[in-house]
C-alpha cells in the first residue's frame, strides 16, 4: 500500500538529510499520505490508544525505576516512599499501575474488534500473529510488574504462577529452581523480574514496529471487510485518521484519568498493601483482573498438567485463528450466525473472568468447566463449522458503497454494542472486588469527609485521631511509614513545623553508634519516623499472645470487604472506595463481651463482630472517657474510632487531597480538549462523507 514516497522537502538542509536517510519520506508515507479506508469506525482508534499507552507505561516506568529498589527487604518501602516522598510520585505510580489495567482494557477491545471484523484473515495472518505475540509479552510484563511492589499478593501471585512450570514433566522442578534462583520465591527472583520487567516493554516496542509495518503492507481492514479498490475508498491518514485517533485517545484519557485520580485502588487488591510474608498465604489468591479468564480455565481442570496446558492453549489458540475460521466473508456484519456467536463468546470470556475471582468451590467449579468448554468450542468446533454451513449476507461492492448506504440509514446496533461492552467491562473490572467469600457481616457504610471527588480530611478529626493513636494504639501498633515532619505537610493534620518539631521532641529515638561505638537515645527530630513499640516481629508476637499487631500506616488500604454484585459496578460511578475506613471503624466498635451462643473462642481471643473469623487477639482497645480531647469533642468510643480511622486514612495516603485536587483540574482540561477535538474532527471529516 505504502509505496515509495513522493515526499520532497523544499528546505535545503532537510533535502540534504533526506538524500542520505529518507526518514521524513518514510514518516510521510506511513503517517501522512498513507491511505486509510474511509469507513473505519471508532473501534479502529484503539491502535492509536495502545501506542499511546505503551508510551505512557515506558515513560512512567523508566522514572519509577529511578526511585525503586529491587530488593526483597526494601522494595515495599521504596514503593511507599514513591507514594509519600517523591514529588508527584503518587501520580507517576498511579499512572503506571492503572495504566497497566488500561493497557489491557484497550488491548482486549482491540482484539475483540479484530475477531468481530475478521481482521486476521488473508492477507493479514502475520499481522494477527504478531499481535498475539505482543499480547503474550504484555501478559509476562504485567505479571512481573505486579510482583515488584512485593506485597502479599505480589509474592503469592508469583508463587502460584512460577509453580505452574512445575507441571512440566521431568524438568518441572529444575525449571522452577532456575526461575527462582533459589529454593523458594525470594530476593534473586525479585531482582531478575525487575530486570526483565524493564526489558520486555522494549521488546514489545520492537514487535509493535513489526506489527505496524505488517499493517502498512497489507493495509487496514475495515468494517465492511472489502479491500479498498479505488481512490474513492480511502482517505489520507493525515488529517482524517490523525484527528479521529486524537479524539479517541482523548476520550480514553478521560476514562484513564477517572482511575488515576479518583479510583486508584479500584482494580487492585487490598492484600498488596501488606508486605510480602513467606509464612502466611492470603486466604484467597487472585491474579490481576486481566488474567482472570485464564486463571478460571486453569482451575476448572482437576489435573495439574492438563490445567496448565489448557491455560496456555487458551492463549495460543488465538494464533491459529486465521486457519480455524476459513469463511470468505471477513466482517461479522454480514455473517448473521457468526455475529451472534461472537457476542456469546464475549459473554463467555467475561463470565470466565468473573469465575476466576471466585473461590474454587461448588457451583463455581461446574460453571467454570462448562464455560471452559464453551471457550474452546468457539475456536475449535464452532468457527470451522460456521465457515462451512453459514450463508453470509451479500457484502457491498466497495467501501464507497458501504459509506453511502450507511449515511442513508444510521445504524442503531452500535449503541447496543457500546452498552454491552460497558456492562461487560464493569463486570470484568469489578470481579476482583468480589474476591473474598466469607459469610461476614459487612461493616456499615459511614459518611466520611474525605469521600467523593472533592473530599477533604477534617483537620480536627485528624488531630484527635493522632491523639488516640498516640495514647492508645501506639502501645502495640507501629506507624513506621509516617515521619513527624509529615504532621506539618499540606493536606495533613494542619500542624505548623514548630508544632511538629515539638511533637517529635517528646519521643525518644534510638540513634548511634556514637564515637564509643554505643547506641544512645536522643529526642526525636521532624525527620524521624514514629518509633515502633517492639524492636522486632518476634518480640511483638511474644508480647501479644503469638499474634502480630499490624503496622497501622497502611491499614485502611490493606483492609477491605466484599461489596458483591451489582454494588461494585455502582461503586465505579459513585467513586466508593471507603471499604478500609468503614472496616477499621466498625472493627474498633465491634467488640462484644460474650460471643453469641454456639461460638467458642480460642484462649486469649476476643469476640469481634467484624473481624474475619471473629476471634481477634486484640482486647477491646477503646472505652469511653479514655482519651480527653482539647476541643471538647465527646469522649465516646464511636468518636475515638471515627477520629483514629480518619487519621489512619490520612497516614495510608497523605497526598489524597492533592490527588483529588489535581483530578479536578485534569478533568476540566480534558473535557474541554476532547470537545474541541470532536468539533475539529467533524469539520475535517465534513467533506469526506
Amino acid at each position: 500500500m505504502s509505496g515509495p514516497s513522493d515526499y520532497q522537502p523544499t528546505n535545503p538542509a532537510l533535502k540534504w538529510i533526506e538524500r542520505r536517510l529518507p526518514i521524513m519520506g518514510l514518516m510521510h508515507s506511513s503517517f501522512v499520505a498513507y491511505p486509510t479506508p474511509r469507513n473505519l469506525n471508532y473501534w479502529w482508534t484503539f491502535g492509536a490508544i495502545l501506542s499511546m499507552m505503551l508510551g505512557v507505561q515506558i515513560l512512567t516506568g523508566v522514572i519509577l525505576a529511578m526511585h525503586y529498589t529491587p530488593n526483597a527487604d526494601t522494595a515495599f518501602r521504596s514503593v511507599e516512599s514513591i507514594m509519600r516522598d517523591v514529588n508527584y510520585g503518587w501520580l507517576l505510580r498511579n499512572l503506571h499501575a492503572s495504566g497497566a489495567s488500561m493497557f489491557f482494557v484497550a488491548v482486549y477491545i482491540h482484539m475483540f474488534r479484530g475477531v468481530y471484523y475478521g481482521s486476521y484473515k488473508e492477507p493479514r495472518e502475520i499481522l494477527w500473529i504478531l499481535g498475539v505475540i505482543i499480547y503474550l509479552l504484555m501478559m509476562a510484563t504485567g505479571f512481573m510488574g505486579y510482583v515488584l511492589p512485593w506485597g502479599q499478593m505480589s509474592f503469592w501471585g508469583a508463587t502460584v504462577i512460577t509453580n505452574l512450570f512445575s507441571a512440566v514433566p521431568y524438568f518441572g522442578e529444575s525449571i522452577v529452581t532456575l526461575l527462582w534462583g533459589g529454593y523458594s520465591v525470594g530476593n534473586p527472583m525479585l531482582n531478575r523480574f525487575f530486570s526483565l520487567h524493564y526489558l520486555l516493554p522494549f521488546l514489545i516496542t520492537g514487535v509493535v514496529v513489526l506489527h505496524v509495518w505488517a499493517l502498512h503492507v497489507s493495509g487496514q481492514n475495515n468494517p465492511a471487510g472489502v479491500e479498498p479498490k479505488t481512490e474513492k475508498d480511502t482517505v489520507p491518514f493525515t488529517p482524517y485518521a490523525t484527528i479521529k485517533d486524537a479524539f479517541g485517545v482523548s476520550c480514553f484519557m478521560l476514562f484513564f484519568a477517572w482511575f488515576i485520580f479518583y479510583m486508584p485502588n479500584y482494580l487492585g487488591d487490598a492484600d498488596n498493601y501488606i508486605p510480602a510474608n513467606p509464612g502466611v498465604t492470603p486466604a484467597h489468591i487472585v491474579p490481576e483482573w486481566y488474567y482472570l479468564p485464564f486463571y478460571a480455565i486453569l482451575r476448572s481442570i482437576p489435573n495439574k498438567l492438563a490445567g496448565v496446558t489448557a491455560m496456555f492453549a487458551a492463549i495460543l489458540v488465538l494464533a491459529f485463528l486465521p486457519w480455524l475460521d476459513t469463511a470468505k466473508t471477513k466482517s461479522s456484519k454480514y455473517r448473521p450466525l457468526a455475529k451472534q456467536f461472537f457476542w456469546i463468546f464475549v459473554v463467555v470470556c467475561v463470565l470466565l473472568g468473573y469465575l476466576g475471582a471466585q473461590p474454587p468451590e461448588g457451583i463455581y467449579v461446574i460453571a467454570g468447566r462448562i464455560l471452559t468448554f464453551c471457550y474452546f468450542a468457539y475456536f475449535l468446533i464452532l468457527l470451522p463449522l460456521l465457515s462451512r454451513i453459514e450463508k453470509p449476507r451479500p457484502i457491498p461492492n466497495s467501501i464507497a458503497d458501504d459509506v453511502l448506504a450507511k449515511t442513508a440509514s444510521k445504524t442503531a446496533p452500535m449503541v447496543s454494542a457500546v452498552i454491552m461492552l460497558a456492562v461487560a467491562g464493569a463486570l470484568f473490572a469489578g470481579s476482583t472486588q468480589n474476591a473474598r467469600a466469607e459469610e461476614q457481616e459487612t461493616p456499615p457504610s459511614q459518611k466520611w469527609s474525605f469521600a467523593g471527588p472533592v473530599g477533604k480530611f477534617d483537620r480536627g478529626s485528624l488531630q484527635r485521631g493522632l491523639k488516640v493513636y498516640k495514647e492508645v494504639c501506639s502501645a502495640c501498633h507501629a506507624l513506621s511509614y509516617v515521619a513527624f515532619r509529615n504532621l506539618a505537610d499540606p493536606g495533613g493534620p494542619g500542624y505548623s513545623e514548630g508544632q511538629a518539631s515539638a511533637f517529635a521532641a517528646e519521643y525518644k529515638i534510638k540513634d548511634g553508634p556514637n564515637d564509643q561505638g554505643e547506641m544512645f537515645d536522643r529526642p526525636g527530630r521532624p525527620a524521624d519516623y514514629f518509633p515502633s513499640p517492639f524492636p522486632n516481629e518476634q518480640a511483638a508476637r511474644a508480647a501479644n499472645g503469638g499474634a502480630l499487631p499490624p503496622d497501622l500506616s497502611l491499614i485502611t488500604k490493606a483492609r477491605s470487604y466484599e461489596r458483591g454484585f451489582p454494588k461494585f459496578v455502582f461503586d465505579f460511578f459513585t467513586q466508593f472506595q471507603e471499604q478500609g475506613p468503614n472496616y477499621v471503624d466498625a472493627m474498633l466498635q465491634g467488640f462484644e463481651e460474650k460471643p453469641p451462643a454456639g461460638v467458642t473462642l480460642p484462649e486469649g481471643s476476643y469476640y469481634n463482630k467484624y473481624f474475619p473469623g471473629h476471634a481477634i487477639k486484640m482486647p477491646k482497645p477503646l472505652s469511653d472517657g479514655q482519651v480527653t480531647f482539647d476541643d471538647g469533642s465527646p469522649g465516646t468510643v464511636a468518636q475515638y474510632a471515627r477520629d483514629v480511622t480518619t487519621f489512619l486514612t490520612w497516614t495510608a495516603e497523605p497526598h489524597m487531597e492533592a490527588r483529588k485536587k489535581m483530578g479536578l483540574q485534569v478533568f476540566v482540561f480534558l473535557i474541554l480538549f476532547t470537545g474541541l477535538l470532536y468539533f475539529t474532527k467533524k469539520k475535517v471529516w465534513a467533506d469526506a462523507h
Binding site: 503469592w156 502460584v160 529454593y183 523458594s184 513467606p278 509464612g279 498465604t281 482451575r299 482437576p302 490445567g307
Partner: protein, 146 residues
C-alpha cells in the same frame, strides 16, 4: 557457550550454603502440637501426632488414595508420632494450614486441597502428597533436616 548464560540463573553459592542442613529440637513440642520451621525458605511442619491421628492415617486403605503411599513410608520407623513434611501445597505452592480440613491434617486455602494427618492428598486439585524432606533423627528428641 550458552550454558553460562543459563547457569547463572540457578541458585548462587551463598544461597546453596544457606540451604545447609539444620537441626531441630523436638523436646518442646507437646503431643497434638506442631511447629513450623523454615529450611531453604520453605516452611516445614513438624507435627507431634496423637494416637488418634496415627490410627486415622493407618486405617485408610492405601489403594484408595490419589497418591498411594502408606503412613509407615512417610515417617521414620520407631518415631511414628513425628510427621515432618514440607508445608507447600503440591498444587501451586501455597502454604496449607495445619489442623484444618476434614481429614485432621492440612487444608490449603488457595484452591481447597485437603491433606490427611499423614500429609497425603485426599481431596482437591493437588496431584501429590506433601513432600517429606530429607531428614534423620540424630537423637530421640532431635532431628536434622537436609
Amino acid at each position: 557457550m550458552l550454558w553460562p548464560f543459563i547457569s547463572q540463573m540457578n541458585p548462587d553459592a551463598s544461597t546453596i550454603a544457606a540451604g545447609a542442613p539444620i537441626e531441630v529440637d523436638l523436646a518442646p513440642i507437646a503431643e497434638g502440637q506442631d511447629i513450623k520451621v523454615f529450611w531453604r525458605g520453605k516452611p516445614i511442619y513438624i507435627s507431634h501426632r496423637t494416637k488418634k491421628q496415627i490410627d486415622e492415617a493407618r486405617e485408610v486403605p492405601v489403594s484408595s488414595l490419589p497418591d498411594p503411599q502408606s503412613d509407615e513410608a512417610r515417617v521414620k520407623e520407631g518415631h511414628d508420632q513425628w510427621l515432618v513434611v514440607i508445608g507447600i501445597c503440591t498444587h501451586l505452592g501455597c502454604i496449607p494450614i495445619a489442623h484444618e480440613g476434614t481429614y485432621d491434617g492440612f487444608f490449603c486455602p488457595c484452591h481447597g486441597s485437603q491433606y490427611d494427618s499423614s500429609g497425603r492428598i485426599r481431596q482437591g486439585p493437588a496431584p501429590a502428597n506433601l513432600t517429606v524432606p530429607p531428614y534423620q533423627f540424630v537423637s530421640d528428641s532431635k532431628i536434622q533436616i537436609g
